[in-house]
């Protein structure tokens, strides 16, 4: 969490621009399978960055972000159904996104007020329960169609295959998540949240508006997650409650952040990329062993790099710098 106000170096700008050019060019050279992998990395990387807006700065680790993911998907899907086929699909998607954001904003504020009074494991469990409740509600009340599911219309843009189109939508989603994270980290809000993460009571005593800052981060994180849910459901074309209100989605966001490095912008994306490539490419064909090997790799990673890969790299760089200084002093 160091260097909030450190200016972005020209090297970082250059690297970012290079990555962006590569990302934009990828759909025109990659195979559909590689694009689907990239889609997942972009989407879940973005969702993990969104999760980090609260969980990365503070110790408020949400174990129920699938609630917002599902809420967004259902809000947009149900609105799309109400609008009917006479409204163009692209307009239905845009209106669905806006509606999902509004619904999630309201729900996030409503749930945040009581839940953010809890800390640590109590907050985590409350969020887990919230996600479970939303999943059950979507299935219990027929109006939500969570049990029987519903189809979403196919979005088409001339000249782009569906897999390419959603790749670009997920890329934009990731860029927005990254942008918000970077802006927030460099703002008073980010500094305040970091103080909350270090010692909330002391931060409050020092005048940090802890409740407001936590609420703001929670709501932004929830709304971004809902946007991800909308795009995800449109990319699949059919969804039930089991498609989106899944505990593994909530847990994966934490896992990706831990593997890459919690509280960093690149860490969650790197974590998502590693885990998705590991489970779906490297181990994808090991029918009976993939879960075992994945588990072993995770245990090894958490043991060898408890701060994630970004933390590991930073530690290695720091040690190298210290060694250089010591060698300089000795000579």
């Amino acid at each position: 969490m160091r260097g909030f106000h450190k200016p972005i170096s020209s090297r970082q700008w250059g690297l970012s621009a290079l990555l962006l050019v590569g990302a934009v060019a990828l759909p025109f050279v990659a195979s559909p399978f590689e694009l689907r992998l990239a889609q997942q990395i972009l989407l879940f990387g973005g969702l993990a960055v969104a999760w980090n807006l609260l969980g990365g700065f503070t110790t408020y680790w949400s174990f129920g972000h699938a609630a917002f993911f599902g809420l967004g998907a259902f809000a947009a899907g149900l609105l799309g159904q109400q609008l009917g086929p006479e409204v163009p699909v692209a307009l239905r998607l845009v209106l669905g996104l806006l509606f999902a954001m509004a619904v999630t904003l309201a729900a996030a504020v409503a749930v945040a007020l009581p839940v953010l009074r809890l800390r640590g494991i109590y907050f985590a469990i409350a969020m887990l329960a919230f996600a479970q409740i939303l999943g059950e509600v979507s299935k219990t009340f027929d109006v939500f169609q969570g049990a029987i599911g519903f189809t979403l219309p196919i979005l088409k843009v001339p000249g782009l295959a569906k897999v390419q189109l959603f790749y670009f939508l997920f890329l934009v989603f990731l860029m927005v998540c990254i942008g918000l994270f970077v802006v927030m980290r460099r703002s008073r809000l980010g500094v305040g949240l970091t103080c909350i993460g270090q010692d909330e009571d002391t931060a409050a005593m020092l005048g940090v508006p802890t409740e407001r800052y936590k609420l703001t981060a929670f709501v932004i994180s929830a709304v971004l997650t809902a946007v991800g849910g909308v795009l995800y459901s449109y990319s699949l074309g059919f969804m039930t409650a089991d498609t989106v209100f899944r505990i593994d989605i909530s847990l994966n966001l934490i896992l990706y952040s831990m593997v890459g490095g919690i509280g960093t912008v690149a860490g969650p994306i790197i974590g998502a990329a590693i885990m998705i490539l590991l489970t779906q490419v490297v181990l994808g064909d090991l029918l009976d062993l993939h879960m075992l090997v994945t588990g072993a790799v995770l245990v090894a990673m958490v043991t060898l790099a408890p701060k994630g890969l970004i933390g590991l790299v930073r530690d290695m760089r720091r040690r190298r710098e210290e060694t250089t200084v010591e060698e300089g002093a000795a000579s």
Binding site: F33, A147, L236, G237, T240, G284, L287, M316
Partner: protein, 414 residues
């Protein structure tokens, strides 16, 4: 203690990972040679549908092993082919499933076997359909799979809204005529869709639907629903629940002396564990029978149902289920379609599947023009537990016992 990972070690690990990845990715490509028919697909072998996923996988593997080892492959248009199965674990996750299916499409797999759960089957069908690949599946029956206009997906069961044709006909055949029915469902797509279809079908034949009762997806306590039943007791109680949930409901009905003249449980009583658990109390319970080993069918691969069962038991430790037999028959159906087409071209095979009319160890196979199973030919039979065994009570041409109605009360069953 503060030992750093050396660059050599790090590079070694990276190299090993990349080599493994490359080798693993190369394996399926090597196998895709002439004379081999590859079947792809995904199954939830971990996650919430793992149990059924494993049953289906064993069915696929059994048929392929038999054809390769016992029959020396298949002859199609004068050429001998061996079969190869390339199933991956989708962990019941649609995003993972679609990605892995896309990989198989990119690798040139032409024939797919479906996953389990409509929320996984349908997104995957979108990919295979767009690529002009064929899917025959035994794990998804939501109406939406067959109403998208897809031409290349075939299902072994009638779509959910048509799955009750046989049952409704059975209710009509019962003497003395029942007048009222209540339906109990859980919060899942499968259960709710079936409950809707059951209630609608009952209304159509003049049965009064007293209540449609809803329970959580995992049933632990159905006492409030049972209290409603005791207050307004129907002639028939239909539970559109699956295995463990059905057992919990039956146990609580026994414990609370909630008696109905006929208890119809969609899935559950088919399992030996259910009948062993309830003992004599299970007698009289009626169920849908997607398949039962007492039904003797011929089979172009195995000879007949009994030969299939014998071979399966000789080569597997896992008990078979109707999903297992259905999965094996998916392979048989593919092979028969390829023989009829005289080709392994996916479009020719698709056309042959459209017209297929065969009998397998699972029963007759004939698809509607939308690709789901014919509701009469591939629809469920009706079974009733009598003397601890399942007897087929409907349709009449397959009947092995008369329907017991009204059934004795729980106390009278001993």
């Amino acid at each position: 203690m503060n030992k750093q990972i050396s660059r050599r070690t790090a590079l070694g690990l990276l190299g090993a990972t990349m080599t493994s990845a490359t080798a693993l990715r190369a394996m399926p490509a090597r196998a895709a040679t002439d004379g081999v028919i590859r079947f792809g697909g995904s199954l939830g072998m971990s996650g919430r549908y793992a149990e059924t996923g494993l049953n289906i996988r064993h069915g696929y593997e059994t048929a392929i092993k038999y054809i390769n080892e016992e029959k020396g492959g298949v002859q199609i248009a004068g050429k001998t082919y061996s079969l190869e199965l390339g199933i991956v674990d989708d962990a019941s996750d649609p995003a993972r499933a679609t990605t892995l299916i896309q990989r198989q499409v990119d690798e040139g797999v032409d024939f797919f076997l479906g996953s389990y759960g409509s929320n996984v089957v349908l997104p995957c069908a979108g990919i295979t359909e767009a690529a002009g690949k064929v899917t025959v599946q035994v794990g998804g029956s939501a109406d939406q799979i067959f109403t998208q206009g897809y031409e290349n997906i075939f299902g072994f069961f009638p779509r959910a809204s048509r799955a009750w044709v046989t049952s409704i006909e059975f209710f009509k055949s019962i003497e003395p005529k029942p007048k009222t029915v209540s339906v109990m469902a859980t919060n899942s797509a499968f259960s709710k869709l079936n409950a809707q279809a059951a209630a609608a079908g009952c209304k159509e034949i003049g049965l009064e639907v007293l209540d449609v009762l809803e329970l959580p997806e995992q049933v632990t306590d159905s006492s409030s629903a049972l209290a409603t039943l005791r207050a307004r007791t129907p002639d028939i109680l239909i539970t559109t629940t699956v295995d463990q949930n059905s057992l919990v409901i039956a146990r609580q009905m026994i414990a609370t002396e909630t008696n109905v003249p006929l208890l119809y449980q969609f899935l559950g009583p088919q399992l030996p564990a259910y009948r062993e658990s309830l003992g004599a109390k299970a007698d009289g319970v009626v169920m849908q029978l997607p398949w039962d080993e007492s039904l003797e069918f011929t089979d172009p691969t195995f000879g007949d149902t009994q030969s299939y069962i014998d071979y399966y038991n000789a080569t597997n430790d896992r008990p078979f289920s109707y999903h297992t037999v259905g999965a094996s028959s998916c392979i048989t159906t593919y092979i028969e379609a390829m023989k009829a087409a005289g080709s392994v071209d996916p479009l020719a095979v698709r056309d042959a599947l459209d017209a297929i009319d065969i009998v397998t160890a699972f029963g007759p196979v004939n698809f509607t023009e939308d690709g789901d199973g014919d509701p009469i030919l591939m629809g469920a039979k009706i079974g009733q537990v009598q003397g601890g065994e399942i007897k087929v009570v409907y349709p009449e041409n397959l009947r092995t016992a008369e329907t017991l109605y009204p059934t004795p009360t729980w106390a009278e069953k001993g």
